[in-house]
């Protein structure tokens, strides 16, 4: 489903906090319908970039276009076009499954009938039928994460940002989670995902690797492996993403 039409364009993005440069001149594009992996060690500047792309934070300089909207100038308008799911759990534990879906549907301005229809379809697709009136706190983590993802794309955004969505989830659920990601991308929603699991990076259409605020590699997993002469993205990552490693003899 990948086309060459960019939905995210980042040019010369710089973000400074005082004298600290969190994002140092980033340049990249994300194409419509692709699964874009955003990798980097802790503290490499991923979260900062993600916050700018989702309109939570303003860039110091540079141009950021998300779904045709200038993120620096009009962050509020971005918000209608994106979905967001963060590593920490984003559903309310004291509300039921249906109430959570209704809440987020309502926040994104969906009509009542539309929400009701979507809820039924969603519960069926996830085989959640029996859980409609269950409190989230009673659900196992894997189910919650899947539900959180489904809720994040409920309003059919153009792009969905996933910030380490599979942290702490068992391998089987992770597998199912990635099947959901594929389905979503196949449905035309661009998926922008950060992860620490390198096997997941292999599932992405393209990955970028950040180190010390810069993007040091960006290509398809296959091309990266070929370029660095290794057999997995993990090895690519270890080779380039660990700052200061060269200093250790």
């Amino acid at each position: 489903m990948t086309s060459r039409e960019p939905v995210i364009t980042v040019q010369n993005l710089v973000k400074r906090f005082g004298s600290f440069v969190a994002n140092d001149n980033l340049n990249f594009e994300v194409y419509a319908g692709e699964i874009f992996g955003f990798l980097g060690a802790n503290g490499a500047g991923k979260t900062t970039a993600l916050r700018i792309l989702s309109g939570l934070s303003a860039p110091t300089s540079g141009k950021v276009m998300v779904a045709g909207v200038d993120a620096g100038r009009n962050p509020e308008r971005i918000k209608r076009n994106i979905g967001y799911m963060c590593q920490r759990f984003s559903l309310y534990e004291d509300l039921t499954v249906t109430e959570n879906i209704t809440l987020y549907g309502g926040i994104y301005g969906m009509k009542r009938n539309e929400i009701r229809g979507k809820t039924a379809a969603l519960l069926e697709r996830l085989q959640f039928g029996a859980y409609g009136n269950t409190l989230i706190s009673a659900l196992p983590l894997g189910l919650r994460q899947k539900l959180a993802f489904a809720v994040a794309v409920l309003h059919q955004p153009k792009i969905v940002f996933l910030d380490e969505p599979t942290g702490g989830v068992d391998p089987i659920t992770r597998r199912q989670f990635w099947e959901m990601i594929y389905e979503t991308a196949a449905g035309g929603i661009t998926v922008f995902v950060t992860t620490h699991y390198m096997d997941e990076a292999e599932y992405c259409d393209r990955v970028s690797i950040m180190s010390e605020g810069k993007i040091v590699a960006l290509d398809t997993p296959a091309a990266l492996k070929k370029q660095y002469g290794v057999s997995s993205v993990e090895e690519v990552f270890v080779k380039i993403a660990r700052p200061g490693q060269q200093l250790i003899p």
């Binding site: 309109g55 939570l56 994106i82 967001y84 799911m85 963060c86 759990f89 309310y92 926040i107």
Partner: protein, 369 residues
């Protein structure tokens, strides 16, 4: 607007599903009002006193009779000697001992003067003052009677004390305004600061901020349910104090409710301010309790009158909004005064509210950067 209402509905669900929150909002106010009203009552009501009558004549018997039939006191014991006085006071049931000297009646008639001792239990100073002043008043009253009957030549000038606004010195008059002040601060400031920091701690705040809801809508949506519930609460407290303690609102009810709304608004903005500073729920609770509840209880004139505090504490109470609110609410509820008498305090609350809102908006923006 529909987005906003959906969000407010969710906030109500949070409140109604959490037993602890429900207890804080509805249980604590009722319990506090009843507790302060009945238990911590400072009224004299059938307080036990003992008599040591060394004279045992007609006059001393009449006087003791008057004291015991006043409704304030009750005969606890008849003593036979001084040595028993300390013993009965130690036992703690009897709060004061009244001693008539030897030949009390004869001296009063022949010399025109006789002495009576009142020994009160000073370990409870307020109580002791209250007891001695009541007994003195009863004796003075009897003095006047004697003077009227022509038994005493010199007519002493007797002060006649009357308590305005609260003629029977009901303790509830003190506590109801205080409890309202405290409870509103508790619910509004503490609960809102907790509910906002909870969203931050659980990570749901990020999701909300990424959504099309504007930050102002998020904060308003979180605060609105507490505004409504605290208002319901105030009305419940007023009804309770009216029906249980027969404490009506003397002044304008509309003015009282308007002032209450201002005070609720101020407490809410304080809660929001705390939530922008606190990193997690524990911090929010700590700041609310130690930073606000404690000074309010101790320094706002709720229990200890501001006038009887040392100067430095009085200065502190000058910058405590609850101290101003207690003045306002007492004026309206008990004295029945109008807006002209409380406009200064109202202005202070208003300025404080605006400052708190301004500061929290600034803090919120900084955090978002």
């Amino acid at each position: 607007m529909k987005r906003f209402l959906g969000f407010v509905r969710k906030e109500f669900l949070h409140i109604f599903r959490d037993p602890l929150t429900m207890i804080i909002i509805f249980g604590i106010p009722a319990v506090q009002i009843l507790l302060f009203g009945f238990v911590v009552s400072t009224d004299l009501k059938e307080t036990k006193v003992a008599f040591l009558d060394l004279s045992k004549d007609e006059i001393t018997r009449t006087l003791s009779g008057k004291i015991c039939s006043s409704g304030f006191f009750e005969l606890g014991a008849d003593l036979t000697g001084y040595h028993e006085a300390e013993h009965v006071l130690r036992k703690n049931k009897i709060k004061a001992v009244i001693v008539f000297e030897k030949d009390f009646g004869r001296r009063l008639i022949s010399d025109g003067t006789a002495s009576v001792h009142i020994i009160a239990d000073g370990s409870e100073p307020n109580m002791a003052t209250l007891i001695t002043s009541h007994i003195s008043a009863i004796i003075a009253d009897y003095n006047r009677e004697l003077a009227g009957a022509g038994l005493q030549q010199v007519l002493l000038v007797q002060p006649e004390v009357r308590m305005f606004y609260n003629p029977t010195l009901k303790g509830q008059f003190m506590f109801v305004p205080g409890v309202i002040t405290l409870i509103m601060l508790l619910i509004c400031a503490l609960m809102t600061s907790i509910t906002i920091t909870r969203e931050k701690e659980f990570g749901t705040m990020e999701v909300l901020l990424v959504s099309p809801l504007r930050p102002a809508q998020i904060i308003l949506g979180k605060v609105l349910p507490y505004f409504i519930l605290s208002f319901v609460d105030v009305i419940l407290i007023l009804l309770l104090s009216w029906f249980v303690f027969e404490l009506p609102v003397k002044g304008s009810l509309a003015l009282l409710l308007a002032e209450l709304m201002l005070y609720i608004l101020m407490s809410l903005s304080l809660g929001i301010l705390i939530s922008t500073v606190a990193k997690n729920m524990q911090q929010a609770i700590f700041i609310s309790l130690v930073g606000m509840m404690l000074p309010t209880v101790l320094l706002s004139g709720f229990i200890i009158p501001v006038e009887s505090m040392p100067m430095p504490y009085q200065w502190v109470s000058k910058i405590l909004p609850p101290a101003y609110f207690i003045t306002i609410i007492k004026n309206i509820m008990i004295k029945g005064t109008g807006f002209l008498y409380v406009w200064k305090e109202t202005l202070f609350l208003l300025v404080f509210t605006l400052a708190a809102i301004g500061l929290s908006i600034r803090n919120f923006k900084i955090r978002l950067q």
